[in-house]
């Protein structure tokens, strides 16, 4: 098996808020392999953004990696403390594309200068050479008339075009890992499809590892090779995209898939998850999803489940996979998704 290029082990991230300590990430582990696409899904507050921000040292000033490790190119970057150390990684080796292109771009500087800045800072290019390369990159991300666009400001671009510029800045330095944080949430479906296609083609060309952070399971189905599901700061299940959609094992993954209107039956109520996510200021005993899971076992409330192996690529943190656990059937929507898949296979 190939070596992972980034390996996160038992990462714990804490924040200090008004004298209280909030645990945002609770012992999350994840390996990234070369040139694959991993999607991290979960609801807001599940910690998916914070988790990836620790890889590039972009936590807010009141947050820190409390324990655990992040191995990248032979170094434990979770131990980094200075900005100088982070600058050897951030933007250069691991880059990020943010959700809203309007806030990610500087409105007072031309688009060309913002891309060129990355080249000058990380690649040591200067003057005409940097400009020529910038125009080349603009063309690569599908912007027409790049030599004209080079001199324009972000407000002269449409939403989709702006997101292309943000992607251009992120890939300018040939990073090894590209993190896309909800890259298409602010865009229309037709534009969304184009941006996803662009990211896919850039990946093919550059061989970069992609990490998508999203709550849109339709997008996940489109882009991902592997999926990690996060809940309350933990990765509770991960596997290949087919394993997660056709054979999910954690009750939270079931709930997340079942609540999608695409899988609902018209005229019948959609499955909805009761309650709210747990308070991260307090210690969470057992399975964090148990209070919202109507079929939770007694054990779920007291003891935290370990990862159980479903297949060599598929793991889930739920007591349901323990050989001693009672048999709990997944909901109908999950079975229907599975049945459709099996039907296609039979043909």
């Amino acid at each position: 098996m190939t070596e992972p290029i980034l390996s996160v082990r038992d990462l714990v991230v804490k924040f200090s808020l008004r004298g209280q300590i909030l645990t945002a990430i609770r012992e999350a582990s994840l390996d990234l392999y070369p040139a694959e696409t991993v999607a991290i899904v979960g609801e807001s507050g599940s910690g998916k953004s914070v988790f990836t921000k620790t890889w590039i040292g972009m936590l807010d000033a009141n947050g820190w990696a409390d324990s655990g490790s992040i191995l990248f190119e032979g170094r434990d970057i979770a131990k980094f403390t200075t900005e100088r150390e982070w600058l050897t990684i951030r933007g250069k080796k691991i880059a990020m594309v943010f959700q809203d292109p309007m806030t990610a771009l500087n409105p007072l500087r031309t688009v060309g200068m913002q891309i060129q800045e990355a080249l000058e800072l990380h690649q040591g290019m200067r003057g005409e050479q940097a400009k020529a390369r910038t125009i080349e990159i603009l063309a690569e991300v599908g912007i027409d008339m790049p030599d004209v666009r080079y001199h324009q400001y972000p407000h002269e671009f449409s939403g989709g075009m702006r997101q292309r510029v943000v992607i251009a800045i992120a890939v300018a330095c040939n990073p090894r890992i590209l993190i896309c944080d909800e890259p298409t949430t602010a865009l229309d479906v037709t534009i969304q499809a184009q941006i996803l296609e662009l990211i896919r083609s850039l990946q093919k060309k550059m061989g970069v590892t992609l990490v998508y952070i999203t709550h849109d399971l339709g997008v996940v189905a489109n882009v991902a090779d592997r999926v990690a599901v996060m809940y309350a700061g933990e990765i509770i299940e991960y596997g290949t995209v087919e394993e997660i959609f056709y054979d999910p094992r954690h009750p939270y993954t079931w709930a997340l898939l079942s609540s999608l209107p695409q899988l609902g039956i018209k005229g019948q109520p959609l499955y909805s998850i009761a309650g709210t996510p747990p308070n991260l200021f307090t210690d969470i005993p057992g399975d964090a999803f148990a209070p919202r899971n109507p079929k939770a076992l007694k054990l779920d409330f007291v003891k935290r489940p370990p990862f159980f192996q479903v297949s060599p690529t598929h793991y889930a943190k739920t007591w349901l996979l323990d050989p001693r656990a009672p048999k709990v059937e997944p909901p109908e929507t999950i079975k229907a998704l599975r049945a459709k898949h099996d039907e296609r296979y039979a043909l």
Partner: protein, 313 residues
């Protein structure tokens, strides 16, 4: 039940809405749009950002003035200058639910005031006791507790805040509700709750909805009929499954092809169509709004219509 027998609650005829810029030609946000909404149904309006879908909703609640055309509510015209009495009735009977519950609730007012603000405007209560009883009832109907009335919006989660937005509309005892992207800013797990709430209320109160959204998968789930709008013009309108099963207009086809489907095998193989507006040659032959099969309308000129009819078989 045939279409003709159904009671029409909202009728929009050749609606045009314009926004004036400085000295320039006014911008036509909505151009020659006509459709009807039947009592008790959910009518979905979909289109991309800037297509004019929200403007139509705002024209119906009379926030945006109309430049031409008519809007009829139960057969009576409600755009332009109308009698005071009708104005009061429409203010009460047509309500709106907004997209972002954080932005649409006054953060400095308590829920009590937010929910009853509409009642104050039309003096819709006898005394303080009556008003409080109405607030409690509205909160209960949307699944909140009456005690919440004394709290501020920031004390609630996104889903609860949207419920407050729904309670504020319900207290007016409306017949017709315009829901403008009511779940777009909510989290996936909360969306289902709000969608279920809207359909429950529709069943128990016989409400009619105009559901405005750019998310076609949500609209498919909730709407009985869908209108597709592109650059201020309605390009296609049909019953939901008819539209998804047999789209005629190239824009509708492109839009439908781009919907992400949560099924990796289908999603990874899908072909996204691109809509090129120059595929229409309207220089000689102007497009018309035609009923191509019963209940299925499309914007097309003579030549396109022949193609579409051939497709319909």
């Amino acid at each position: 039940m045939t279409q003709n027998e159904r009671e029409v609650i909202i009728e929009i005829k050749n609606l045009r809405v314009e926004f004036k810029g400085k000295g320039r030609k006014p911008f036509r946000a909505v151009d020659d749009v006509s459709f009807e909404i039947y009592k008790g149904e959910t009518f979905g309006l979909v289109g991309e950002t800037g297509s004019g879908k929200t403007t139509i909703g705002r024209a119906i609640v009379r926030i945006n003035p109309t430049a031409a055309g008519e809007i009829l509510f139960k057969g009576r015209r409600i755009n332009g200058v109308i009698p005071k009495e009708l104005d009061r009735e429409v203010t009460r009977k047509i309500q709106m639910i907004f997209q972002d519950p954080m932005a649409s609730l006054n953060e400095r007012s308590k829920v009590d005031y937010i929910v009853s603000e509409g009642l104050y405007n039309i003096k819709g209560f006898k005394d303080e006791q009556d008003r409080m009883a109405k607030v409690s009832r509205a909160l209960l109907e949307v699944g909140l507790l009456p005690e919440f009335a004394s709290r501020f919006p920031h004390e609630f989660s996104g889903g609860q805040r949207q419920r407050i937005g729904v309670a504020r509309a319900l207290i007016m005892e409306p017949e017709f509700i315009i829901a403008d992207e009511p779940i777009s800013s909510l989290d996936v797990s909360i969306r289902a709750q709000v969608l279920n709430l809207l359909s429950d209320l529709q069943k128990t109160k016989g409400l009619t909805y105009l559901f405005i959204s750019h998310d076609l998968s949500v609209v498919r789930f909730i709407a009985d009929r869908i209108g597709v709008i592109h650059k201020g013009r309605l390009v296609e309108l049909a019953e939901t499954e008819e539209l998804f099963g047999r789209p005629f207009h190239p824009y509708t086809r492109a839009l439908l092809s781009a919907i992400p489907i949560p099924d990796p095998q289908i999603e990874k193989k899908k072909k996204v169509l691109v809509y090129d507006p120059t595929c229409h040659d309207y220089s000689k032959d102007k497009p018309k709004w035609v009923e191509i099969t019963p209940g299925h309308f499309v914007l097309a000129n003579e030549e396109e219509l022949r193609q579409y009819e051939a497709m319909a078989g």
